[in-house]
Structures are given as structure tokens and as C-alpha cells.
């Protein structure tokens, strides 16, 4: 259970962004020194605001984008040493929007069968079709959808097709980027249950990228909180939801909308808006929005503190600072 299947060591991803005419280009740190381990069989939830680098991290893990610095290792071997095809057989994505993740010009059978065709698995057309239909059935799609087009299916059915496409090659890791946020509430739980079933059935490991804390609490075993390209807190799900430590995590948990009437919209106390990632604040990047900021937070970036409860990057828990 504790073996690290996928390991990130001080991973960085910089984008060169034009700062304006005649002012040259500047580096945008989308992912800034992330160290994270994905253990075999777990569901690691990655939460954070829009623009904090979650999706960039996911794309790097899929091998669609190289890391600017640091190293990503799959079973101890650097990701760069894998060929695209090798990596594709082990790590597969599930996207947020099932309306844009399926080619509208292809039938469900062709979409789910594409990985098999590309990798030359089941070269025989009949065997391939059988395998595609088996996988479809596993994810709850009746075989009669084989010749249907995505526009004939509902959002939930489309997401099942996307899951079938990801599973047809029996990968080990699924990178789920907001797998339910584009779906109706009534369908969300079906898809989450399906993901959970598939994980048990195929021994999968998930990285679940989401901003929906309820989803993360429901399915993740461990949670990493990301802020402005850094992991600010990492802990077991129960631990994190019961006793969040980083002020940002606390603000996130406080911001969850409840269906209870009369409570109104929760105040996150985050005050100022999300900082410009091109010009991050000095010291701890969270200090302009933090209710508990101390003078030291403006000057020095906090180091990661690991203990039995997890890992947190905050001066509040650094005894040396106090």
C-alpha cells in the first residue's frame, strides 16, 4: 500500500509568457517545486482554486508536457525514459467535459477501440470488438451503443465512454481531471461509484484533481492541497477534513456551500483576490490572503514540515520560527 508508484521530486513547470510589447518574456511558474508521491492503490485528491496548477500537473503526469525542472518517476524510472506508447499503457486520463473529450465524428466502438488499434492489441477485428464490448459492459454501457455516436448519449453515458476508453488497455494509473464537475448532480454519484468499483476491480491508482471538496472527501484516501503551484498541505482525507492545519485549507473547507437554508453564502475570509501568478507575493505566497499572517510570512517562504499527521508548508507550525 505504501509503495510509491508515481513520485514527483521538486517538479517545476514554467511557461514563458509575453509581458507586453518591448518588455520581453517572463516566466510563469505554473507548478513550482512540487514533491508528491502517489502510492499504489490509493486515491490521491488534488484540490485547489482554478489556476493553481492542478491541471498542468496532470498533463505532466500524462507525459503531454515535460517538467521544466525536477523529476517525475514511475516505479523509480524517470518519466522521460518512457516512450509515449509505454507511458500510455500505464497512465490514462479522464477529462472533465465528456462533451469535448469524445470525437463527435467517431462511433463509441471506434473511440473505445482506438487505444487497441494504436497499440496493435487484438489485431483481429472481431477480437478487438469483443474486448471493446466487454469493457463497455464493465462500465455500464450496453453493447448496442457500439455503433452510436457521442451526440446520441447523455453526459453520464459519455463519461462512461471516456472511462471505458481509459480502461480498455488496463492501465495502472488514472489521472481524473474533475471527472464529475460537468455532470448533473444525479449522475455525479453514479460516475464516482463506477470509478470506485473500477479501482477495486482493476487495482487502479487514481490522482483525482478536483475543486469539489465533497467529491474528494467521498472518494479520496489522501488529499493534497495546492496553492499557486505549490502543495501547501498533504494529509489523510479523514485527518485533513477533521483537522485542517494550513489556513488555506481551513478557508477552503469553510467555503463549501451547504444546502441548509438560511445559512447564506459562506464567507471564506480570503479577502483579496487570487494573486497574479506572474508576480507572486514574496515570502509565503499565501500571506496577503491569510488571516494569521505574521511578519515572517512576508519575508521567508515556509519550508515543508512532515510529521505523522502529514505535511504542511506554513510558518504557524514551524517551531523554529516561533
Amino acid at each position: 500500500m505504501s509503495e510509491a508508484l508515481l513520485e514527483l521530486v521538486e517538479v517545476e513547470r514554467r511557461f514563458s509568457v509575453s509581458a507586453g510589447l518591448f518588455r520581453g518574456r517572463r516566466a510563469l511558474h505554473a507548478v513550482n517545486g512540487v514533491s508528491l508521491a502517489l502510492r499504489r492503490g490509493e486515491v490521491l485528491g488534488l484540490v485547489g482554486e482554478s489556476g493553481c496548477g492542478k491541471s498542468t500537473l496532470g498533463r505532466m503526469l500524462l507525459g503531454l508536457m515535460p517538467a521544466s525542472a525536477g523529476e517525475i518517476r514511475l516505479e523509480g524510472r524517470p518519466l522521460a525514459a518512457f516512450s509515449t506508447r509505454e507511458l500510455a499503457r500505464r497512465v490514462q486520463p479522464i477529462f472533465q467535459d465528456p462533451y469535448s473529450s469524445l470525437n463527435p465524428r467517431k462511433t463509441v466502438g471506434a473511440i473505445v477501440g482506438l487505444p487497441l488499434a494504436v497499440h496493435g492489441i487484438e489485431a483481429d477485428a472481431r477480437a478487438r470488438r469483443k474486448r471493446v464490448q466487454e469493457t463497455m459492459e464493465r462500465v455500464g454501457l450496453p453493447p448496442r451503443f457500439f455503433h452510436s455516436y457521442p451526440n446520441q448519449l447523455s453526459g453520464g453515458q459519455r463519461q462512461r465512454v471516456a472511462i471505458a476508453r481509459a480502461l480498455v488497455m488496463r492501465p495502472e494509473i488514472l489521472i481524473c481531471d474533475e471527472p464529475t464537475s460537468a455532470l448533473d448532480v444525479s449522475v455525479q454519484s453514479q460516475i464516482l461509484n463506477l470509478l470506485e468499483d473500477m479501482r477495486r476491480e482493476f487495482d487502479l491508482t487514481y490522482l483525482l484533481i478536483s475543486h469539489n471538496l465533497a467529491v474528494v472527501e467521498h472518494i479520496a484516501t489522501r488529499v493534497a492541497v495546492m496553492y499557486l503551484g505549490r502543495i501547501v498541505e498533504e494529509a489523510d482525507t479523514v485527518q485533513l477534513f477533521r483537522a485542517p492545519r494550513h489556513p488555506y485549507t481551513r478557508a477552503l473547507l469553510a467555503s463549501v456551500l451547504t444546502p441548509e437554508p438560511g445559512l447564506g453564502v459562506p464567507d471564506t475570509h480570503l479577502g483579496v483576490s487570487y494573486p497574479n501568478p506572474l508576480d507572486p507575493p514574496p515570502g509565503c505566497t499565501f500571506h496577503p490572503r491569510c488571516g494569521e499572517a505574521m511578519p515572517v510570512c512576508r519575508e521567508r517562504a515556509p519550508a515543508a514540515l512532515a510529521d505523522v499527521r502529514g505535511r504542511v508548508e506554513c510558518h504557524l507550525y514551524d517551531n523554529a520560527v516561533k
Binding site: 500524462l62 497512465v91 469535448s100 473529450s101 470525437n103 482506438l114 448519449l153 476508453r165 449522475v187
Partner: protein
């Protein structure tokens, strides 16, 4: 698995009613009058071009100086021997119009093919790869757009000599700009969609991503541009022939026929109006077809 299988099945059966994209397309085509008219007229002209030897009553090149400038049927001096009259050299005008459709269609299709391949490749490559590739292609497009087609075609044909194939080649190498512009932006839109990313994550080689994911989703743009450009190529050939630098006499090109008739415009107006009408009908049909294809293939809710 079994505990929520029941709810799954309920939602699966409930919403399976939508028609397939092919069926949707057929329905929309049947409801589009412009497209049907355009396709019908174009089909007639294509049929006429293929069946020219059987349709034309006489040899389009045969001169008969004794029966020059015979007016068409609807004039009092018209006769059934020459239903559309004869020209200044006594050639049967109906036969020349019928054979002229071959030249117009040949030029239209060939130019469309040459420029379509060049423009589509440049546009898709630029849109898909972006970066430096895009810069180079955009530069090429800008250079091409700054060249006036008629002038360049005139110069080239004047220097290299004019023939049917020369006209096709010159127009084909000049008229790829709109394909490139349209397909570049269409590809840029498609490139960032999740299904392209998914195909890459599956391990598809780049050619397969472009051929399997990008091309089918930009093909409707390609068809629309191709039909409109075909009409414009036919008009350009007529213009070049009119200026004497296109198809050379005695070939029966509609543009050339208009050009040859301009001296007789006031006394034998049918000499200029009949090929003009033919040209108008062909280009109108092609443009109706192009507009129709654009409407029919537009995403839901737009027309």
C-alpha cells in the same frame, strides 16, 4: 457493482432516442432549398459536360462561313439547325456552350484540388503545431495575400505562354490562401479540445491524431471553402480568357466566347449573353451548394 446497476440501467434506456449524425445531416439537407437547387443545377452541368459528344448537335470547331451569325431559335430568323445560333465563324453556338462546360468544370475541379491540397496542408500544420511553424505559414499566407492574383497570373501566362494546363497550374498555385486561413483557425480550435489530448495520451502518433481526430472535424470547413473557391477559379479563368491570356482559341471556353463576342455585342447580343448566362448559372449553383453545405454542417442552433 450490482447495488447501483439498477439505477444505471434506468438512465441508460431513458435517453436513447437521438438520431445518428448521418441521419441528422440527411434531414437537414432535405430541408435546405438552396442546397438542393445548387446541387441539382451543378449535377445537370456536370452531366452536360460528360455527355457533350451526344448532346452537342455539331462539331464545336467546325466553321461554316456561309452561315455566320445566325440568331438563336427565339429570333424570327432562327432555325432548328442551330438552336442557339452560330458565331462569327459560323460555328454552332449550342455545341460550343456544351463543350465549354467541360473546360470550366475541368479548371474549377483541378484548381480546387491543387490549391486545396496546398492550403489544407499548410493550414492544418500551422494550426496544429503552432509556434514557429505557425509563424512561417502565416508569413507565407501574408506574402500570398499581398500578391494580386490577376496580375501575377497575367504576368506568368504572358511570360510562359498560355495553355489550359498553364492556367490551371498558375491558379492552383495562387489560390490556396483561403484554405490555409480557414483551416488554420479551425484546427486551432480543435487542437485544444480534450479528444485531441485524449488521443495523444493514448499514444497516437502525430499523423494519426491529425488524420483521425483533427481532419474529420475540420472537413466541413474544407468542403465549404472548396466549393466557393471552385466558383471563383471558374470566374478567374473566364476573366483570363477574356483578356486573351487564358484558354486559347479555338477552344470553346465560356470566357473566351464572351471575349470573342464583345465586338458583336450590339448587333448580335446573344453571342455574349448565352455564355454569360451559362457562367452565371454554374457559379451560382456552386455558391448555393457551398452556402448550403456550410448551413447544413454548422453546429446545432446555428444556421
Amino acid at each position: 457493482m450490482s447495488n447501483h446497476a439498477a439505477t444505471v440501467d434506468a438512465t441508460l434506456t431513458e435517453s436513447f432516442a437521438g438520431p445518428s449524425p448521418g441521419e441528422l445531416l440527411r434531414r437537414r439537407i432535405r430541408g435546405h432549398a438552396g442546397l438542393l437547387i445548387g446541387a441539382g443545377v451543378l449535377a445537370l452541368i456536370v452531366l452536360m459536360a460528360f455527355a457533350a459528344p451526344w448532346l452537342a448537335p455539331q462539331d464545336p470547331y467546325a466553321q461554316d462561313l456561309a452561315s455566320r451569325l445566325i440568331p438563336p431559335l427565339w429570333h424570327e430568323n432562327g432555325s432548328w439547325v442551330h438552336p442557339l445560333g452560330t458565331d462569327m465563324l459560323g460555328r454552332d453556338y449550342l455545341s460550343r456552350v456544351v463543350y465549354g462546360s467541360r473546360i470550366s468544370l475541368l479548371i474549377g475541379f483541378s484548381v480546387m484540388l491543387i490549391s486545396g491540397v496546398i492550403g489544407a496542408v499548410l493550414g492544418i500544420v500551422a494550426g496544429y503545431f503552432g509556434g514557429r511553424t505557425d509563424l512561417v505559414v502565416t508569413y507565407l499566407i501574408t506574402v500570398r495575400l499581398s500578391l494580386p492574383v490577376i496580375l501575377v497570373a497575367l504576368t506568368t501566362v504572358a511570360l510562359a505562354g498560355s495553355s489550359l494546363w498553364m492556367v490551371i497550374l498558375v491558379l492552383g498555385l495562387l489560390k490556396w490562401d483561403r484554405y490555409a486561413v480557414v483551416l488554420r483557425s479551425a484546427t486551432q480550435q480543435v487542437r485544444n479540445l480534450d479528444y485531441v489530448t485524449a488521443a495523444r495520451a493514448i499514444g497516437c502518433p502525430t499523423w494519426r491524431v491529425i488524420a483521425g481526430e483533427v481532419l474529420p472535424n475540420v472537413s466541413s470547413h474544407l468542403i465549404v471553402v472548396a466549393t466557393l473557391e471552385m466558383g471563383s477559379a471558374i470566374l478567374l479563368e473566364a476573366a483570363l480568357s477574356f483578356l486573351g491570356l487564358g484558354v486559347q482559341p479555338p477552344a470553346p471556353s465560356w470566357g473566351l466566347m464572351i471575349s470573342e463576342a464583345k465586338g458583336y455585342m450590339f448587333f448580335s447580343p446573344w453571342l455574349i449573353s448565352i455564355p454569360g448566362l451559362a457562367l452565371f448559372a454554374l457559379v451560382l449553383a456552386i455558391n448555393l451548394l457551398g452556402d448550403g453545405v456550410r448551413d447544413v454542417t454548422a453546429p446545432e442552433g446555428r444556421s
